[in-house]
């Protein structure tokens, strides 16, 4: 349960992710393991090649290590990974 409410502060590198909604139609349906994160983007490994996703345009399905799937709007994930440790939780999703 801890993970569910703390996804904003948690580590996203290494999780599996799927794009369900996006304003960029060619991004929809991409899925894979996150290998890198910057302030505004994710880099994922999709069938062996690297893809860059813009956080603010997409809605993601994250698969946590214990196999639960949660939907997160990319807008709330904006921020450098080390800054998100201190992010205040607001329930928006």
């Amino acid at each position: 349960m801890r993970n569910l409410s703390h996804i904003l502060q948690d580590e996203l590198i290494g999780l599996r992710v799927k794009v369900v909604k996006s304003s960029n139609p060619s991004c929809i349906g991409l899925s894979g393991k996150i290998i890198d994160e910057t302030k505004n983007t994710f880099k994922i490994l999709h069938n062996g090649d690297e893809k860059i996703l813009i956080k603010k345009d997409c809605v993601f399905h994250f698969t946590l290590p214990d196999k639960t799937v949660i939907e997160v709007n990319g807008k709330v994930l904006i921020g450098r990974p080390e800054d998100r440790v201190k992010k205040i939780i607001r329930r928006r999703w």
Binding site: H6, Q9, D10, E11, I13, G14, I35, D36, P81, E82, D83, V85, K86
Partner: protein, 104 residues
């Protein structure tokens, strides 16, 4: 209370990043380096110390990710004050850690 939680989360993230870095060590050394840098930044932001065993994996001088047998050398010096010497193979710097005697 909130501050305590942040520190717990930070510790967990650091743990996970180091595990990932060790996994990626041979395939993608550049990514492993990046993960370790992230872990250090998280520790600084949350104002905690890296755990002791993690600290040995980061060069004190050039701050790069070093792994024994791959990018660092570990030697033990028993005479004089017993200590171990870790040599970074990137920058050539040494780190010394004391080996405390066991009190039996």
């Amino acid at each position: 209370m909130n501050g305590k939680k942040i520190k717990e989360i930070a510790l967990e993230r650091i743990e996970r990043l180091f595990n990932l870095a060790i996994e990626m060590l041979h395939e993608r050394p550049d990514l492993a380096q990046k993960y370790v840098e992230n872990a250090r930044k998280i520790a600084m932001r949350a104002r905690i110390k890296l755990p002791r065993e993690k600290r040995l994996l980061i060069c004190k001088h050039c701050k790069r990710f070093i792994f024994p047998g791959v990018s660092s050398r570990v030697r033990i010096q028993l005479r004089r004050e017993p200590h171990m010497i870790i040599t970074c193979l990137y920058c050539g710097g040494h780190m010394r850690r004391p080996l405390r005697k066991r009190s039996t």
